[in-house]
Symmetry: C2
DNA sequence: CGCACACTTGAGTAATGTCAAAGAGTGTGG
DNA sequence: CCACACTCTTTGACATTACTCAAGTGTGCG
């Protein structure tokens, strides 16, 4: 929100606040369903959200884990391109689309901000395609841990330990692996003293440099 | 280009044309390198372009095949997020970024158009993540053929036969497979009379319905 | 305290990758 | 014009990674 609102002047900020609505949800609540009419855009205030797509037989691909400050439902299309579920308890702000569009027309700087956000997401999506299509299980998990770590840093927090509010199954569905493979690779990293699990489901990165080497595919002798 | 320019009035269209520069390239020419300064945006006029990311050891993930009308280098970031190479001979229009930005400021409708394009690409990227992370080789190839077919239709052409200007290796690098697996699945589809190869490297979809069923993961008894 | 639920670990399997060789299509120079 | 050389493709045999199925171990919550 901060980065979004900072493009708005005082007067327009008041208008932005006027159209915003705060909502709370318990963990595991389904927040959006792919194909539903996209009548609002949301910005996460607290908690973790997963966005995902499903195949007919139930196979799931999580396309992103979203944290406070991230947008859900970013699309100019009529319908949501993905489903969303609360991983933890979640609070978000709702921007009714029609009101938001009027505001965007009046404040072009907001539109440019949204374009910037969308093109960043596009770059992240391409990075994820590289991961899904070409990386091994080890490389995927190392990349995943580092991505979360960098995200913590960008949010102004320490790069380690990292909170892992999602299950092994969710991590697998994000990386294109099974939960068993995720567990096995984590165990391997733990045995090799590259990570350590802490209480409350968080992970400490004991050797970020080694993880970065693995993540980039130089996994030969490691 | 048409869809982009149609958001511009006559006077502004003249301005748009004034900043545009047409360029030609032979097949296999490297057009952009990931990490290079993003000083221009491009719109393809003729030919096929692949955009891709590389790992240190040479593994490649193609994140998109782009055709006439598509944009290359769409990013607000300082640097290109991907490399690009001409699959066939290519012609494109260059929009110097600084001049384009001035134009975008003057014509907010253009910016909204770009936001729409970016959010469509985001939806396509998520569909591709589902494919890469969760679909089998058969499902991937069926999805790929249908995607190209739908793209032909949207461009106002017949949905079949489809031109396949890229190599099996490129298709594999797009779908997260090896070229051998691509070839084997194509052979299987051909034996099952779902597709037929025509002269000049194009494919006819003999049974689009069956392919659609396979693509969506209902591959049980097929 | 005990019941879920998530996680870990093991054994065997299946899908896809790797290595290899031969065939088909295309362009070029003798 | 044909033969050679090149690249791309197909197909086969085998290897490997990650998946499936299964059992057992925490761990937190009611």
């Amino acid at each position: 929100m901060l980065s979004f609102c900072s493009a708005v002047g005082d007067h327009d900020l008041a208008r932005l606040n006027a159209i915003v609505l705060s909502e709370d949800f318990a963990a595991r609540t389904v927040l959006l369903v792919e194909g539903d009419e996209a009548e609002s855009l949301f910005n996460i205030t607290a908690g973790t959200v997963k966005i995902y797509k499903l195949l007919a037989d139930g196979r799931q691909q999580i396309t992103g884990f979203l944290f406070p400050g991230d947008f859900v439902g970013l699309a100019t299309a009529e319908r949501y391109a993905y489903s969303a579920e609360a991983v933890t308890d979640v609070t978000w702000c709702r921007f009714p689309r029609r009101k938001l569009e009027r505001l965007l027309t009046d404040v072009p700087a907001l539109e440019r901000r949204l374009l910037g956000i969308a093109s960043n997401e596009l770059a992240a999506a391409q990075e994820q395609m590289l991961l899904l299509g070409r990386k091994t299980a080890r490389e995927k998990l190392a990349s995943f841990l580092l991505m979360l770590s960098r995200r913590m840093e960008r949010a102004g927090r320490a790069p380690s330990p990292i909170a892992l509010p999602m299950t092994r199954a969710d991590i697998g569905d994000y990386l294109g692996l099974t939960l068993e493979t995720v567990s096995r690779v984590f165990s391997q990293f733990r045995r090799d003293r590259r990570i350590a699990f802490r209480r409350g489901g968080s992970v400490e990165l004991l050797d970020p440099t080694a993880l970065a080497t693995i993540a980039e595919g130089a996994s030969e002798g490691l």
